[in-house]
């Protein structure tokens, strides 16, 4: 099937969409994932269980680059749960390029101990199932997850996400109508994240650790909701 238009908010009833996917899917692992379903469109933010997710990758192109680490943390509007945090290091399929080694501070010896991607993705799907996934700049997580599953499960994946960077972009857009240049390729993910966080007086963290970034994203969404939305807001306003 063709990729949906992500920038258009009106198109999907995610709950119905996941039910349909469950019937169409050939892979039992993906069927299980879709079976866990998602929330109704009108569900209040205060009733939702979120998972903040972050991938560190060897580059920006999901067809050429690999995931090297994954971090996630479960949270809700009130609390981010450190006891429900996970992180994995993955042996990448392509060779680590020198420059990305520098950027991410992860060395080959870290990765040699890493479990293989297939095993990690199975665990990851289990963590994400039934929750609303929150990322900062959804194209990375969505593309890399989809293309890696295509390679390993012979089937892609799609599910709703809340993108804290899109929320910031929309707010900026609302503030200065007409100047919509945000969709240019962003310089790096973490600068965007750090900058957004500073608007809510959130502390600065060292960049390029998947789990730290996942926690940072969760904190950012809590702050964005406190500032711009309410616990009563329906999830359909935020997910994409």
């Amino acid at each position: 099937m063709s990729m949906p238009n992500f920038t258009n908010r009106e198109i999907l009833n995610w709950q119905a969409f996941l039910q349909m996917k469950s019937q169409l899917s050939k892979d039992s692992r993906l069927q299980n994932f879709y079976d866990r379903g998602t929330y109704h469109d009108e569900t209040k933010l205060s009733d939702i269980e979120f998972v903040a997710l972050d991938f560190e990758t060897t580059g920006l192109d999901a067809s050429k680059n690999s995931i090297i680490s994954i971090g996630l943390v479960h949270f809700n509007l009130q609390r981010i749960f450190c006891r429900k945090a996970k992180s994995w290091y993955i042996d990448p399929q392509d060779n680590l390029k020198e420059d990305s080694i520098v950027i991410h501070g992860i060395t080959h010896s870290d990765l040699n101990k890493a479990p293989d991607l297939l095993h990690v993705l199975e665990q990851l799907l289990d963590e994400l199932a039934g929750k609303v996934v929150v990322v900062h700049y959804r194209l990375i997580e969505r593309d890399f997850l989809d293309s890696n599953l295509r390679a390993l499960f012979k089937e892609g994946i799609i599910f709703p996400m809340v993108d804290t960077m899109q929320i910031e972009a929309d707010l900026q857009h609302k503030k200065r109508q007409g100047i919509t240049n945000w969709f240019k390729p962003k310089p790096t993910q973490s600068i965007r994240l750090a900058k957004s966080r500073s608007r809510y007086n959130l502390p600065t963290y060292p960049p390029h650790d998947a789990l730290t970034d996942a926690i940072a994203t969760a904190e950012l969404l809590q702050a964005q909701i406190k500032y711009h939305f309410s616990p009563e807001t329906a999830i359909k306003k935020l997910w994409l």
Binding site: N201, D209, I215
Partner: protein, 625 residues
């Protein structure tokens, strides 16, 4: 799978009590944390609500309130709250709200109690709060304030120890000793290294060289092992100086190797201890009276700083230091007056030389200016006696200035003719201040209400004090005026807020601990003391009188005692630091030089002062003027 929450773990380990926890405990508590974001001005916990978490401020600022709505504390990064509720009824005792956008780490009650049981440092930190913590801080400082018994021997080590191998000739060792200008050397035998890496086997002193070599006619080519003493008396570097003295006396030795991890790091001699002792304040005072001119006194006064530092390092409490420094200051004055009378001849009429302010209160520190005055006999006749007292005052005040007691900027000195009055004139002057008070006129003369006679007819000062007390005790309007003035100088509560606001790590601000701390405290204590007719001059003694009189709310007097002691301690510790780093000592304290301990406790002390000021306003109707 072990999840590494390094960012959070590294944050919490910077702050007490987590800085005292072992690594596995840090991991455990980090993994139990829940993070929560609060916008500025939102309620975090409400009074009487159920509480089952300990909170730590990750970023932002949290304000904690009393039940009546007064601000109780302002917490920044790394600070904890909620522990009182957890320790008592699981009900919120002090409500909290965010002043700025705030990120909190919430730690579950279960782990909190477990850590209290398991880690003493954790329990100590969380179980005592504000005034209790202040009290504990002060008492820890005073615990062993028995001067000589509290300084460690390692502070006496001033040079490296010389160690020679056993096969060296006596001459080689003697040459080395001469070269290094030392009176003893240690001897080691690398082949006899014991399992602790310890290889030194003996000591050779000048006395050995004299008795065993020269007197015995031994060849200087003999190996030193033949004459060294192998009965080694040594001491660990953490032992106290008095232990070194005891050891030297007991074994009749004059040299003592000082060990660290069983390795010699220095050698102290009897002379080191005597030199140390000679800076003692009592010796200093007797030294003052041996000087024959103001110039000699000025020369001696340069050693005052060493004496001060030594007392601070010995963990003397502020009362002890204040008393010793005041005693020294009085001695300078007394000796200068003796010298003045020698030069000018006997005084034509009796007089009493007064010390005012901190010296009168026995609260002088190292940075101080001179505040003094003279009571003249009622028979004073300006035409006959004026010139003598002009000269006398000038002699003393100039002499004091040369000794480091700078001239009083407010000109409250005996050289000012206005402050040389007869007994009768002084009584009229005080009667006027007390009976017809106005805050403006009293603003600059509160210092006169701390007075003591240091020379001449000292009894006159006592009589004047008694006169003041009789007059002041019943005069509500006078007390109200003083109270109003005492409220002019507020403790710097906001300072800590500004301090956390500084983001770039540079802090150009500082607080004056005298102006914002000890002086307003002394002011308010003086008012209570006047109100109850206390004859004491010292703030601590006044406070004890005040507590006995029962005019303060319960336990507030104790809180004030501890606040006064804490602020004074920090102040004198920072003056000692200034001196040790060759800076001009002052009353300012810069945030970057403050330990976490000091910052936390200073804040508590300022809170005590602030609430005592509110009480003062209410007690003496300072608003009614």
């Amino acid at each position: 799978m072990e999840v590494e929450l390094l960012e959070i773990q590294d944050f919490i380990r910077q702050y007490p009590p987590f800085d005292k926890l072992p690594e596995d405990a840090l991991v455990e508590i980090t993994q139990s944390i829940e993070i929560s974001y609060f916008r500025a001005e939102s309620t975090i916990i409400e009074v009487n609500a159920k509480i089952n978490e300990l909170y730590m401020v990750r970023s932002g600022i949290v304000e904690v309130y009393r039940r009546n709505g007064d601000l109780y504390n302002r917490l920044d990064q790394g600070k904890l709250f909620g522990q009182m509720g957890l320790l008592t009824s699981n009900k919120v005792r002090f409500p909290a709200k965010s002043l700025k956008d705030t990120l909190l780490y919430c730690m579950p009650e279960e782990i909190f109690h477990r850590f209290c049981d398991r880690y003493e440092a954790f329990a100590d930190f969380v179980e005592v709060e504000d005034s209790t913590r202040l009290k504990q801080a002060v008492e820890n400082n005073n615990n062993d304030a028995n001067s000589l018994t509290t300084s460690k021997v390692k502070t006496l080590i001033s040079r490296d120890v010389v160690i020679m191998p056993t096969h060296s000739t006596i001459q080689a060792v003697a040459q080395k000793m001469a070269e290094e200008n030392i009176s003893a050397a240690l001897i080691n035998d690398p082949e006899l290294t014991d399992d602790q890496g310890n290889s030194f086997v003996g000591i050779v002193t000048e006395k050995d060289l004299c008795a065993k070599v020269i007197a015995a006619g031994l060849s200087v080519d003999t190996p030193v092992s033949e004459v060294m003493s192998t009965e080694l008396i040594s001491l660990d570097h953490n032992a106290y100086i008095f232990e070194a003295m005891l050891l030297m006396l007991r074994f009749n030795v004059h040299h003592l190797p000082i060990l660290k991890n069983k390795q010699p790091i220095g050698l102290i001699e009897v002379g080191d201890i005597i030199r140390y002792e000679s800076q003692n304040s009592l010796l200093f005072v007797s030294g003052i009276f041996q000087q024959q001119s103001p110039e000699d006194l000025a020369l001696l006064s340069t050693q005052l700083k060493d004496c001060f530092i030594r007392m601070v390092n010995e963990d003397a409490n502020s009362h002890m230091v204040g008393r010793a420094m005041s005693e020294i200051g009085r001695s300078f004055k007394q000796r200068l007056l003796e010298l003045a009378e020698l030069e000018l001849g006997d005084p034509p009429i009796p007089y009493c030389f007064l010390a005012l302010g901190s010296m009168a209160r026995d609260e002088q520190l190292i940075v101080t200016d001179q505040d003094n005055a003279i009571i003249l006999d009622n028979s004073y006749d300006e035409a006959l006696h004026g010139e003598y007292f002009i000269k006398l005052s000038k002699f003393v005040c100039d002499g004091l200035a040369a000794c480091g007691y700078s001239y009083c900027t407010g000109d409250i000195m005996a050289t000012n003719p206005e402050w040389r009055k007869t007994q009768a004139q002084w009584e009229d002057c005080f009667a006027d201040w007390i009976d017809d008070p106005n805050p403006q006129a009293l603003l600059n003369c509160s210092i006169f209400f701390d007075l003591t006679g240091v020379y001449g007819r000292a009894k006159w000062a006592e009589q004047l004090n008694a006169f003041i007390l009789r007059r002041a005790k019943k005069n509500n309007r006078f007390l109200a005026c003083l109270a109003r003035n005492a409220l002019n100088r507020k403790p710097p509560l906001g300072f800590f807020k500004d301090f956390v606001m500084e983001k770039d790590g540079r802090h150009n601000n500082s607080i004056n601990l005298k102006r914002r701390g000890t002086a307003p405290l002394a002011d308010l204590i003086r008012i209570h003391a006047l109100a109850i007719g206390s004859q004491s001059q010292n703030s601590f003694q006044r406070l004890e009188d005040i507590i006995e009189a029962g005019i303060l709310p319960k336990s507030k007097g104790q809180d004030l005692l501890h606040a006064m002691e804490l602020i004074s301690l920090v102040r004198l510790r920072h003056q000692a630091l200034d001196i040790e780093f060759d800076r001009e000592p002052d009353n300012n304290i810069e945030p970057e030089n403050m330990s976490d301990f000091e910052r936390r406790n200073l804040k508590d002390a300022f809170l005590v002062l602030s609430s005592a000021q509110s009480f003062l306003k209410y007690r003496y109707n300072a608003n009614m003027l």
